[in-house]
């Protein structure tokens, strides 16, 4: 597959000395949804801003559709649509005017038919004459998407599209993104929710401290990251793991009040049934059970350590 966006040795150092991006290499394939996963401050937004031309590049190159985004910025930028993290719409402007403004700014005339179809696709058509301040939070975000799509870009960047958005709206946003991909738009989104990357992306890139740790197909990555913890709270603390439970490789925590079983959700069987059966034979009293998924932080630590070992 051809790369629609290619980033080569991109470095960004702010005036204050902060090294936000270090030698980033990234290829984005045409038609895919790529999720950039990383904690706050990892450099996700900086990377997007460097590609879109909002932030200047310290060194390295970015090409969009083969055009360098500095020397041939008009051609490069006209293929990009950007949905920023913050909802920053002019409050007194109508939806229609603000979307039409974006199209003009990106050098396209007319196109009322296209704007109409974008607004309809995003369920905003009946709000086209409303001032943006009168819209709900979810609608405002969709207006930002409509603005980004107004000039028919090939690549759409979504910077944390669901930050601070409730569950229902998040699902709605996921559907919107899937729909966009079906319309042939390449989508790059950033998130710090692993389940979001899982729900939407074809490929996942992990970024931390200004470096791309890895970029992998989602399915491959998810199975790698699919570790989950099954935690058994005991009525009375145990001093050691009973003999019968030894095969499960349990760990004690919270001064023996909890036993932790680690399993792989993507495997054929989790082993939980066998564990519970064995547990009932030991005479230990269980107060409660719960499961925990390794947090993103843990995954990063795991990834970085893993790289160090190999």
């Amino acid at each position: 597959m051809t790369a629609i966006v290619s980033v080569e040795k991109l470095t960004k150092q702010y005036d204050g000395g902060v090294h936000a991006l270090k030698d980033v290499d990234l290829e984005i394939r045409e038609g895919e949804i790529l999720a950039l996963l990383g904690p706050n401050g990892a450099g996700k937004t900086t990377l997007i801003e460097c590609i879109c031309g909002i932030t200047s590049i310290s060194s390295g190159h970015v090409r969009v559709g083969g055009h360098d985004n500095v020397t041939d910025y008009r051609a490069a930028r006209s293929q990009i649509g950007l949905v920023p993290q913050e909802v920053n719409l002019e409050p007194f402007e109508t939806v229609w005017n603000t979307v039409r403004f974006s199209r003009g700014l990106f050098g396209k005339s007319g196109g009322d038919d296209h704007l109409e179809s974008v607004l309809k696709q995003l369920s905003l058509w009946d709000k086209k004459d409303s001032q943006t301040r009168a819209l709900s939070g979810g609608m405002k975000r969709r207006v930002l998407i409509a603005k980004a799509l107004s000039h028919e870009p090939k690549v759409l960047f979504l910077d944390e599209p669901t930050a601070g958005v409730d569950v229902g709206l998040r699902k709605e946003m996921w559907n919107t993104v899937a729909d966009l991909r079906d319309h042939g738009v390449t989508v790059i989104l950033t998130t710090h929710y692993i389940e979001e990357a899982e729900a939407m992306a074809d490929r996942i890139g992990v970024i931390s401290k200004g470096e791309i740790k890895l970029v992998r197909d989602k399915d491959a990555l998810m199975s790698e990251l699919g570790r989950k913890l099954f935690i058994i709270e005991l009525a009375e603390p145990a001093t050691q793991i009973p003999e019968a439970l030894q095969p499960f490789d349990l760990a004690l925590q919270a001064d023996g009040a909890e036993m932790v079983y680690t399993y792989d959700t993507t495997g054929d069987g989790t082993g939980i049934t066998r564990l519970m059966t064995a547990l009932s034979g030991t005479g230990l009293k269980v107060r409660d059970v719960r499961t925990e998924q390794s947090s993103l932080e843990d995954i990063f630590v795991g990834l970085v350590e893993g790289e160090g070992r190999s």
């Binding site: 990009i80 719409l89 402007e93 005017n97 403004f101 003009g104 005339s109």
Partner: protein, 253 residues
């Protein structure tokens, strides 16, 4: 050349002006009318003619300049500051548009608005005093160039400002005194010689003088100097804008 970008910004800004028509047009016209009533009719009748022109008529060019300059600055500075303030500037920075195109959109829109105000005030003046425009072409040229150059300056102020207070600072502390001391309400020849010399360092003197010449054929400084001042000022502002976009100052990290 991304002409559509210029047009999009222009149209957007003009729409904002129409939406807030009371603020953009009515209030400057009202305040200027008040000047006419107070200085032209009430006090002006007790002031001698200035070089053969009644005082009420004498202050008309200065009053138009006063409004046009302050309005140009406030329109253009607000126009670019507002997207910065709400954050929608990201769109301008990521658009396939050059600094010249973005500047042109905002500056043309601001200049159009202040030009409209200038013309409305001129028409209003006809109701208060007897006016006589000796050099209409030069009058129009001075008016248009003043609108453009001070809109450019306002654009720079809007980029420079990091809060609303700073946005008011330049018009209030710099421009207002320069305008009032720039011969708007008097001829600098009325001043003691020392202050007349000091006034020559005030760029507004050259604008008002040239503009007044186009009405009554009299001026404080030679027409050539006035033209040089307005073109020089425009070039200076353009140069600063070019530098700002080149370096990304206050716009790009």
């Amino acid at each position: 050349m991304n002409l559509y970008a210029i047009w999009a910004i222009y149209r957007y800004e003009m729409a904002r002006g129409l939406r807030t028509v009371t603020q953009t047009v009515v209030s400057p016209v009202l305040s200027t009318s008040l000047y006419f009533v107070v200085f032209g009719t009430a006090i002006g009748s007790r002031i001698q003619e200035v070089e053969g022109v009644s005082y009420g008529a004498f202050i008309v060019p200065g009053l138009i300049m006063l409004s046009v300059i302050t309005q140009s600055i406030s329109n253009a500075s607000f126009g670019i500051y507002f997207p910065k303030f709400i954050g929608s500037i990201y769109e301008h920075l990521s658009a396939p548009a050059s600094f010249l195109e973005i500047t042109a959109g905002y500056v043309f829109a601001a200049a159009t608005k202040s030009l409209a105000i200038g013309v409305i005030i001129l028409i209003t003046a006809f109701f208060f005093v007897d006016l006589d425009i000796q050099h209409p072409f030069w009058m129009a040229l001075f008016l248009v160039l003043t609108c453009l150059s001070f809109s450019l300056m306002g654009f720079i102020v809007g980029i420079w400002a990091t809060n609303f207070e700073q946005l008011q600072l330049v018009p209030l502390l710099l421009i207002q005194p320069l305008i009032f001391l720039g011969g708007t309400f008097y001829s600098i020849s009325m001043l003691p010689p020392t202050w007349e010399t000091v006034s020559l360092f005030n760029p507004v003197v050259y604008l008002v003088s040239g503009f007044r010449w186009s009405f009554y054929g009299m001026s404080d400084v030679a027409l050539g100097w006035s033209l040089l001042a307005i073109f020089g000022f425009t070039a200076l502002c353009l140069g600063i804008v070019w530098l700002i976009f080149r370096t990304g100052w206050r716009l790009r990290d």
